[in-house]
Every structure is written in C-alpha cells, then in structure tokens.
C-alpha cells in the first residue's frame, strides 16, 4: 500500500513494520510510531471531521493536545470512545476510527448546508431565536420555554460532537497513589534536564509525559540532529536511576492544593484490547514536594479568511509531521509567520524538497535569518501576510498581500498556488496547571503572550517554553537549575545544542499582530478564532457591539474557549481582538480562569473500580452467611446488608412480615441486631460523661443494670436513642441506632477531646467486635434458659433493665433484659468471631420452642405496635416533647442541648407531636402522607404527617405513627390522611402511640 505523502526516508517511525488501520471502514497503512493523524496525512486524507456549527470540512491542524478539528470516534461497540484526538491516538494494528458530526460521512455532509445559513448562526443565535421570540409570537413566557424545549433536542443533535456508546465498558480502570519529591511535568528539553538534575540529588522523581515517546519538541527536530544525542544520553541516564520513574502516555491534567496532581496514564489505549489483565487507563494521584512545569508552549494560529480549511496547519505541527513522521502533506507550501520560529520549519521543508514561500508579517528581519533560508531556495516576502486560504475540501492557493502593523492590506494581492499553509502567530506558554493553583498569568508585551509569574508558587516552578523562555539551550539550563533546586540562572549552563537549531529563539522580535484583513479592516471570508466551536472574528466583534465585552461575558456569549480544547489555540486571539475593539491594553482585558482538567479525562478513569457492586463498600454482619443460607431476603440499611424477611413458600414481604411478627407475639423469634452501634465508654469519669451526653440521668445507673437513653444535639433536637449498660465501675457499653452509630461516636469524641478535656474518659467503637441477637416472645426465657449455662434467667434473678453474663455453646455472652418488640425479650451480645456458633446453638435449641427468625420488616411492625420511636420519628426536627419523651429529661442537671431545647420555637404550643393512628378500611397509609382535619380543606402542608406505617397483626388492622399538631389533646378525633402523590385520602382515629400492651405487662413479666 503506497503512502503518497510519506517521504522515502527519515522520521522516527519503524518502517520495518506496518499494519492496517481503518477510517470509516477505509483501509489505510501505519507504522509503529505513527499517530492516527500522521498516518492519515501520509495517505493524503484531507477532511477528517466536520465543524461543530457550520459543518465545514476540517483537516488536521496540529500535532498534539491542542488539535481543534481532528476529533474522531475510536474503536467500536462497548469499547467505543467519542471525541478522541487523532493527533494523540497512537496507531495500532486494526485501529478503527469513525468520523463524527457528519451524515452520511465527513467527506460528504448534508449538514454543510448550515454554511449557507452562516449569517444567522452568529454568536448568541440560539438565545435570540429560541429564548426570545415567544413574546413576539404571543406565546408568553411559558410558550417561549416550551418552544425552546421543543427545538433544543434538534439543535443538540445537529451541534456536533461524538456519541458515547450505550454499552457498559468491558475494561478495567485503576486508581493509584504515587509519592515523590519532584514531579516533572513534560519531557521536552527543560523537563528532561530537570528530571536529570533532580534524579542526581537522589530525590524520588516522577517524569510525566503525555506522548508515548519522551523528548517533547526534540522529537520534531530532523533525525540526526545534535539534540538527538543529548536526548538519547539523557533518557538513558534517567532510565538507569532507580529513583526516577518515567511515566509516558501520562497526562497531568490537574494541579491541586497541597501539591497533589491528578494524572491519567493511558496504559492500553494504544492496543486494541488491554493485555494480561492490565487496566485500560490508570488514574494517578501524585503527591509531591516540588513540581517542575515543563509543559512547553502551544503555537498560536493566525486569523485570516478560511484559516480553518484542510491544508492550513500550525507551522510547528508541519515540522513535527515532517521530521518525526516523515510526512510532507504537500509539495507547494506557504509558510506564514510573525516570529522567528517558522524559519526552522522553512529550512526543514526546503531540505525535504518542498517549494516554499515564506511570508513574514514583519518588515524588519535580520539578514542572517533571511539569507539562511534563501540559500536553500525559499522565496521570502517580508511585510506580507496571508489574507485568505483558497479551496473547499483542501487548500489550493493562498492570497497574500503586503500588510501594515495592524494587519491591514496595503497593496496588491497575489495568489500563490499551494497545498499547505503553515502558520505561526506566536506562542502561548502552557500555563494551565500553574494557573489552576490560583495565580493568573501576566501579559508579557515583548514575548506577546501570557507568562507565569516567577516565584508566585513556591512549589511549582515553570521552566523553558512554559515560562516563555525561548531556545532549547536555555530551556535545558532552566530545567537543570530547577531540578537541582538552584536559582534559575542561564549564563553558565548554555550548551552547544543551540547552534543546531535555526530560528529556535522565538522570543526575539515577535510580531504583535497575527490577524490579517483587507484594507477596509474586514476579514476576507470567515476568519476563525475558535475552530472547535466555530467562533469567528466577526462573532467577537458582534459580542462587542452587543455589550458582552468583559472577557468572561465574551466567552459565554460566543462560546469561544468553551469547547473540549478549552481554547488552547483561541483564547489569546479572542482576548487580543477584544482589547483592540475596546482600545485597552491586553492586561486590562484579562484572562478567563483555568480549571482542571487540562485535557478531557474519561469517566471510567475517574470511577476506577467504583461501579456496580463496588460502587460503595458493603458491611455484613457476622451472621450474614446464615441469613443467605436460610433464604432471607436482604435489604440495605446504610452500608449494612440486613435480613429483611425470611419468606416461607412463595410469600411476599407483606405476608412474611405479618406472619413473623405474629409468631414473635405467640411463640419466640430471633433477629440479628448486630448492626446496632456499640461504643465502649471507659474511665473514672465515664459516668459523668454519659450523664452529660444523655438527656435522662445516667449517674444513678448501677452495676449490672442497663437503661434506655435518649440524647440531644447542641441545638436541642433529639439526636439518637439507645441503651447504656454499666459493665464495671468505670466501664460502660452504649448502644446506638444503626443509622446514627457513626455520628454519635464522632460527637462523643468531639465532646471528650475538644470540650470536656478534664473528664478522664475514653470512647471506642466496638460495633464490629460484638454481634447481637434479640430473642423475643413469650417463650424466650424458656429457650434461653435451656441453651445458656452458668446463670439464672428467672424473672427474679434477671428482671427488666438488668443483664448477666452466661455461656452459650462454650462461648461467653452477655444477656440484656431489654425489649424493643414489647414481648419478653433478651438481647444476646456475643463476640463477633463466635457469633455464628452462638446463633446456631440458639437456633438448634429453638426447635422445641417453635423458634423462628424474623427480619427488619417484622421488627419494625412490632416496634410500631409498641409505639417506640425510631429513625422516621427522630428525624432531626423533633424534640423530646414532640416524641412524648419530655418526662425523661433531667430536671436540675445540665445535659447536651438542655438550654437550646428551651428555645421559644421548640416549646411553643401546636408543634406536631407523636400520636398513634388507627386507620379505617383495608388500605395502609404511606409514610410521609399529610394529616388534615377530617372535614378540613386540603390546602397547604396540613397539621402533621405520617412517619411510620404497618399492618398490625396484634390489632388486625393498619396502624401508623404520626406527628400531629396538639396530637396528645386530640385522642379519639377522626382525621384525614392525604397522600398528594397518589391522590388518595384515608381516615384514621387518633389514639395513643402505645397501641399494644401500654402497661408493659408482657415485656416486664
């Protein structure tokens, strides 16, 4: 397969091997070392994409991350990835790319008709057309919005980017932390030098390079340049150092506080399928002490008519394709520059056999520079510029004219036949990462670019072209100084590489104008500022006329700089044009804010392994396997998995929980309550500590006793409830609800460590050390007496509110006489590691007592029947009084929240308070339903709400708990329960929330 534009020799590709790649199904050839872009250029493919708004044909413009046009879809099916830069996509065997934003193909695109409507698609077009006209069309505001919503999906479809695959990504992504002393970002001359000197100090160094090869700009020099030897020696020296790690294919995309950097390593993007269980991409969080910013500079396009046409290309990119990939996209070339850097391109092109016309906008250029290129046969026109590019699907000629310092035509135009226009309007240092840390770059009028301020960030040092330093030799010197932590001084460190690179010093005498127009001041054709978002110079002018003059307004009105490339090529041109229109100095116009990421980051790498079952960690109780083996349906309680119900036959949740709850009241049941928070509170002042934390008194709690407790927040609302058991003189075990375990522990630690530091107390979570089971029902005592040894469980020996130690199956356990269900009940606390043995022993012994397990749904039904409050009632907005617990509060001793709970709003009459609701009919209420008087109009938020709801087997009816204004004074009243979501209304009788055994005879017997 012939590649018509590949030179016969040269380049840094492996010509001994080749493989097929595909664009829209068309078979092309590539060598190892190629990018997709270089292979396409070698084959003469000119149109690779259609533009965002006008669907103009677009070709390859750059050779790196700044590429605005050549976005393709890479791979297909589940591995498909839209919006990939052809310039960054490393070619591999079978690479499969598709053009985007075009139908039926990028070469023939129906949407290109948009170009005919271009006058109507200027800045702000969508807003004006679709947000505005409603009022003129008589739609009114609502109509306008509807009109926009109707149009929006067509507009979005026509506006052009690729589509994400709708399939799950089959590949693996990793997240890794890395630690180093010096992070060097960029492996051009400055970066390599910095890594070398830093490595020699013994520091741990990471050198990150986004390309697949190290070398940066050195790779764009002709093969055999003197710099090649330096590159080879330096790379070898770095590879030999054990303390230096070189990460290629790794883009540092974000700079964050505390010297943390985000980077993505494209481990397998250059392969069809990742090998050997390797991830597709690896997300690095790099923590360093110092960083060296050696990210180089991005070349600036010139602004003239048709500057977006296939065949217009950045001059530096032309040099890269020529020297690195041995691709000469056309024989006749016009090189248009406003600075010295283009002269090296011109010389290399001429040496490769191209017919070159050099057009330099500057009238005054040193003779030596000009004669050096004239010697190799280049036609040089000083004080000239390209006014427009001619051609449709590719450039066929350039219109050139003499221009003044403002870029206006001053004489006759001339048409020069060419297939390639190489442009260089100056350079913009890649300050993005530096600026992400906060400081704004400053405008340097001499270098005609925004540069970072030296010393503004102590731990991130820009060097080389990123600092606006011209010249490879000086870049190396600065890199060496930064890597070695010395002051940046260039004088003594000059190397002899400079001599090899002609016109390499782009700083000298750079032209300040790179936008060219006819003598009337208008561009000759569409002159693009932002190619990726199709923003033209005239859009900037329009924004100015319409008052969007602040740089931030300009950006949003025209969308300049808001595409995927984030204005890498366009920002400076937009700023300069606005400065010109407003007659301001460039620093007065300012820059927009740089934010991460520098280049797009895949969602897969951000998610890492956190998807599907691994999205969130899961907590399992020590009895988890038993529940699964015994047919439990599980439910989520925060991070916990809990047994929800144990269906028999084909029971659903409703049948199962009703049966389970009824069984507990008639026989005996067992439920896993290991998820309860458990906190050891220990120390000589533990009793005093708990007495302050809980609203009810804990000071009087005796050894061997336990007590229900409720605690408030500082603001006076109820935080949580639970139990406190006094295990020893200075040793208490606190239980909390499952949901609040973390919050209660953190609050206790805060109080102990920051507020009451004089108290000698220590709090420790023992949730994971202790499993717990509640054994509840009339036969629980018989069952546990049979299975427990070493203690007496009789009512006399172990009354309510007491606990004892005992042995079950040879394991030491503690039995708390505490009931949540309202039945005679015990909580068995067992060491987590032995929990399964203890639980199984109770189950085995339980056969004789008709023991059955029950789940959280039945547990909830039992507690609602009993009128215990739980999470739905303790919702952070209820007081002790609201929950009917006012009597628990200590009268004379202060406790957490004791003052603010007396705030007027918290004690005012009419607050919704806890009631029971006996619901009429067969249908249960929805939690969250509103309460209205039976005959009251349904307006507003009602007089309260339903909090917890269940079918009560004990009462054989649907019941609920709720919060009702003045509830306790309204016993017996008939009330409406309104669910506005399902538009249903039920009626209920207001009763005490103690539906079942209010005297507590059953649980205390």
């Amino acid at each position: 397969m012939r590649q018509p534009y590949r030179l016969a020799s040269g380049g840094r590709i492996d010509r001994t091997q080749s493989f097929p790649i595909f664009l829209d199904g068309r078979r092309l050839k590539a060598h190892p070392g190629d990018t997709l872009a270089s292979a396409l250029l070698a084959d003469g493919v000119s149109v690779v994409a259609r533009s965002f708004k006008y669907h103009r044909p677009r070709g390859i413009y750059a050779a790196g991350v700044e590429e605005p046009n050549a976005l393709v879809g890479l791979r297909s099916g589940a591995r498909g990835e839209p919006n990939t830069l052809a310039t960054m996509a490393e070619a591999f065997d079978g690479l499969d790319a598709v053009g985007q934003n075009a139908w039926p193909s990028v070469r023939f695109d129906v949407g290109a008709i948009n170009q005919a409507f271009a006058p109507f698609l200027a800045a702000g077009f969508y807003y004006k057309t679709f947000m505005g006209p409603g009022k003129y069309l008589g739609f009114g505001l609502g109509g306008t919005t509807r009109f926009w919503m109707m149009c929006e999906r067509f507009i979005r479809k026509a506006a052009g980017v690729g589509r994400a695959p709708g399939l799950s990504d089959p590949d693996v992504y990793e997240k890794v932390n890395a630690y180093c002393d010096v992070l060097v970002i960029g492996s051009g001359p400055a970066g390599l030098a910095a890594a070398l000197t830093a490595g020699r100090t013994g520091a741990r160094v990471i050198l990150a390079e986004q390309d697949f090869a190290v070398g940066g700009s050195l790779l764009s020099a002709p093969v055999g340049s003197m710099s090649d030897q330096w590159l080879a020696e330096t790379t070898a020296a770095l590879q030999a150092m054990a303390n230096v790690r070189i990460f290629s294919r790794t883009t540092v995309f974000g700079a964050y506080d505390s010297d943390v950097y985000g980077a993505v390593e494209r481990v397998s993007d250059h392969l069809a399928v990742p090998e050997n269980h390797q991830p597709r991409q690896r997300f690095w969080q790099i923590k360093t002490k110092q960083a060296v910013l050696a990210t180089g500079a991005i070349e600036r396009p010139m602004v003239f008519g048709g500057n977006d046409k296939p065949g217009v290309m950045l001059a530096g990119a032309v040099r890269t394709y020529l020297n690195r990939y041995a691709v000469l996209p056309a024989r006749d070339v016009v090189v248009a520059v406003s600075n010295d850097s283009g002269y090296a391109v011109v010389r290399d092109l001429a040496k490769a056999g191209a017919m070159v016309t050099l057009v330099d906008a500057r009238a005054d250029v040193p003779d030596g520079l000009v004669s050096a290129v004239r010697e190799v046969g280049v036609i040089v026109r000083l004080g000239h510029a390209v006014l427009s590019a001619v051609g449709s699907s590719r450039v066929i000629a350039a219109i050139v004219a003499p221009v003044d310092q403002e870029g206006r035509t001053t004489g006759a135009v001339q048409r020069i036949k060419c297939g390639l226009i190489a442009i260089s309007g100056g350079w913009s240092p890649a300050v993005h990462l530096w600026s992400q840390r906060g400081p704004k770059p400053i405008y340097d009028a001499e270098k005609v670019c925004f540069v970072p301020e030296v010393g503004a960030l102590a731990t991130l040092r820009p060097v080389g072209a990123a600092l606006g330093t011209g010249g490879t030799a000086r870049a190396i010197a600065e890199g060496m100084a930064a890597g070695g932590n010395f002051d940046v001084s260039t004088e003594d460190n000059e190397t002899d590489i400079a001599a090899d690179i002609l016109g390499d010093d782009w700083v000298r005498d750079i032209g300040s104008c790179w936008a060219f127009k006819a003598s009337n001041g208008k561009a000759r054709g569409k002159a693009f500022v932002d190619l990726q978002h199709d923003v033209t110079q005239s859009d900037i002018d329009l924004a100015h006329r319409e008052g969007f003059r602040s740089i931030e307004h300009l950006k949003r009105y025209t969308t300049s700089g808001m595409a995927m490339d984030q204005g890498k090529l366009s920002n400076v041109s937009a700023i300069v044009r606005m400065a010109e229109l407003r007659q301001l100095d460039i620093p007065e116009v300012g820059t927009t804010t740089f934010r991460p990421p520098y280049t797009p980051v895949s969602l897969g790498s951000i998610a890492g392994h956190r998807h599907g079952a691994h999205f969130h960690p899961v907590r399992q109780t020590p009895l988890h396997e038993w529940h699964l083996a015994n047919g439990a349906r599980m439910t989520d309680a925060g991070a916990w998995k809990r047994a929800w119900y144990y269906p028999e036959d084909d029971e659903g949740v409703r049948e199962a929980y009703i049966r389970e709850a009824a069984h507990v009241r008639q026989h005996v049941g067992i439920v896993d309550v290991s998820t309860l928070g458990k906190i050891a509170v220990q120390g000589p002042d533990a009793g005093e500590f708990l007495n302050r934390v809980y609203a009810n008194g804990m000071a009087s709690l005796k050894l061997g006793r336990l007590r229900y407790g409720v605690m408030l927040r500082d603001d006076g609302f109820v935080l949580d409830d639970g139990t406190v058991a006094r295990l020893a003189e200075n040793d208490y075990l606190v239980t909390t609800t499952t949901a609040q375990a973390g919050a209660v522990l953190a609050f206790m630690e805060e109080l102990a460590q920051t507020a009451w530091r004089d108290l000698r107390v220590h709090v420790t979570s023992v949730t994971d050390q202790w499993a717990a089971a509640a054994v509840a029902g009339p036969r629980s005592r018989e069952l546990l007496s049979a299975v427990t040894s070493g203690t007496d469980l009789s009512a006399e020996a172990l009354p309510s509110g007491h606990f004892v130690a005992g042995m079950i199956s040879g394991v030491g356990v503690r039995l708390h006489r505490m009931s949540y269900s309202g039945e005679l009940a015990y909580e068995v606390f067992m060491p987590a590691k032995a929990a399964m043995a203890v639980w199984q022993a109770i189950i085995d012994a339980g056969g004789a007592y008709n023991l059955k397990p029950y789940g959280t749904e039945a547990m909830g039904a039992l507690r609602i029947e009993k009128g215990h409050v739980a999470g739905p009632e303790i919702d952070g907005r209820t007081t002790l009084g609201d929950l009917g617990l006012e009597g628990m509060a200590k009268k004379y001793k202060p406790f957490v929240g004791s003052v603010l709970r007396q705030r007027p709003q918290l004690i005012e009459a009419g607050r919704p308070r806890l009631v029971g609701l006996k619901i009429e009919g067969d249908k249960g209420a929805q939690a969250g339903a509103l309460l209205f008087g039976a005959h009251a109009p349904i307006i507003g938020h009602g007089e309260g709400l339903v909090t917890s709801t269940t079918y009560s087997p004990a009462l054989s009816r649907n019941i609920a708990l709720g919060l009702l204004a003045n509830g306790p004074e309204r016993m017996g009243e008939r009330i409406g329960i309104v669910d506005l979501l399902s538009e249903t209304r039920l009626f209920a009788r207001v009763v005490s929330h103690h539906f079942y055994d209010p005297a507590g005879v059953r649980q205390n017997g």
Partner: protein
C-alpha cells in the same frame, strides 16, 4: 485535595478527615444557662479570610480531633495539633 499533618498518623489526605468547624469558638460551660450564649455558640460563625484555626476529625485514622491551621484564601495548611493538648 488538602493534605493534613496528623500528629499521630503523619501526612494524610483530606479524604481521611471530616471537617469539624471553627476551632476558635469556645464551647460554653456545661452550667451556662444563658440562651443567647448557647445560641451564638451553635449558630454564629465568622467567615474569615486568611489564617484560621479549624477542627478536623481524623475519622478514617486515629479518630483524634485536631486543631489545624489553614489559610482560607490560599488553602495553605500549617501546624496541626491534638485538640486535647491545645491550651485554651
């Protein structure tokens, strides 16, 4: 991403900690009964620019409450001490 120098565990990522609020605010004495004093303690906070003392709780580490110096403008992290050892 901030990194905090935990006196117990060393230099650790922000994600291991939870923010605990303004460490310059003094909690009233338990026996304080003035509603306004408690109100101000619970609800009123300054929004200072520059150097600041903050509580950070090392929840995924040693579980110690720390008093950390942080510059609210630059996010520069200074000294971090155990709250229980801070005078005042």
């Amino acid at each position: 991403m901030l990194r905090l120098q935990c006196p117990v565990c060393g230099l650790r990522d922000e994600t291991e900690f939870s923010y605990g609020g303004d460490a310059t605010v003094q909690r009233p004495d338990m026996n304080e009964t003035d509603l306004k004093v408690w109100h101000d303690f619970v609800f009123l906070r300054d929004n200072p620019r520059g150097a600041h003392l903050e509580y950070w709780h090392h929840v995924h580490g040693c579980r110690q409450w720390l008093v950390v110096e942080r510059d609210t403008q630059s996010h520069e992290i200074g000294d971090a001490r155990l709250a229980r050892e801070v005078q005042g």
